[in-house]
Amino acid sequence: MPYIIPALSGLLFGVGLTISGMVDPDKVLAFLDPVGAWDPSLALVMGAALAVFAAVNALVAKRAKPLFAPTFHRPASRTIDRALLAGAAVFGIGWGLAGYCPGPGLAALVFNPREAALFLPAVVLGGWWVDRRLRAARN
């Protein structure tokens, strides 16, 4: 179970993401940029995903633990701090530049391998660099 659930969830996520059309960065940009012609699809994708997730979350909220694991891993931080807001802003700029957030970036390995080969290593490098800075700041 520790391995079946993540694999199944990933597979279902990839199927949904692809059917939703959000693996197409031009479709994402057509949402983010409403000037000229606007494609509202992304809002429905987010809305539908949120509705389903929130419904299931409400069902399992009273459980002490997940179905096949010992604990719920809830994020520790509860405060809206500068790192959160600055990080979200930087992420948003990168998203609006090429139309890729991490999920569609991974799916681009299937659909646009050249773009994935440039985008994904840069994502990993960026994350690794922040990690190094955070560790240095703690020590």
């Binding site: 969830s9 494609d39 069902l59 799916a107």
Partner: protein
């Protein structure tokens, strides 16, 4: 000036529902947030014990995309002409931003908001606004 075009409400709703179901499965089954950036960054962090679980989720995602593509090969148009510099810059910004901001569209936008997290609501508002501003700026103001 402002018109709707390319709207695909049925596939967007079905696809979005499946994304929500996938995230719900990981949360209810394993107690983990289905954040793509979190899973990805974790693979390359020091002292992370559970790389296999993370890798399986990400490989599953790529497999799911490949599965749909096998039945529908033209589902995404091949994009050409996006410069190497732009793709690398975008990747660096997405990597730095998601690590610093602890999540992306899936972790904050779907799971976080779905759990009622104020942090995720704030992050999602910020990255949507930044994304919209950037897309408008680069596609209209820079190109004229």
């Amino acid at each position: 000036m402002f018109e709707v075009s390319g709207f695909t409400p049925v596939s967007a709703t079905i696809g979005g529902g499946l994304i929500g179901l996938a995230a719900a499965l990981l949360w209810a089954g394993s107690g983990r947030i289905a954040g793509i950036s979190g899973h990805l960054h974790g693979l390359f962090q020091r002292d992370v014990p559970d790389r296999a679980r993370r890798a399986l989720f990400l490989v599953g995602l790529i497999g799911g995309a490949a599965l749909v593509a096998a039945f529908n090969p033209d589902i995404v148009a091949q994009r050409t002409g996006v410069s190497t510099l732009l793709l690398i810059s975008a990747g660096l910004l997405v990597g730095v931003g998601t690590r610093l901001g602890s999540g992306c569209t899936s972790g904050h936008g779907v799971c976080g908001i779905g759990r009622g997290s104020a942090r995720s609501v704030a992050a999602t508002l910020v990255f949507f606004c930044a994304g919209v501003a950037t897309a408008i700026f680069t596609r209209h103001l820079l190109t004229g």
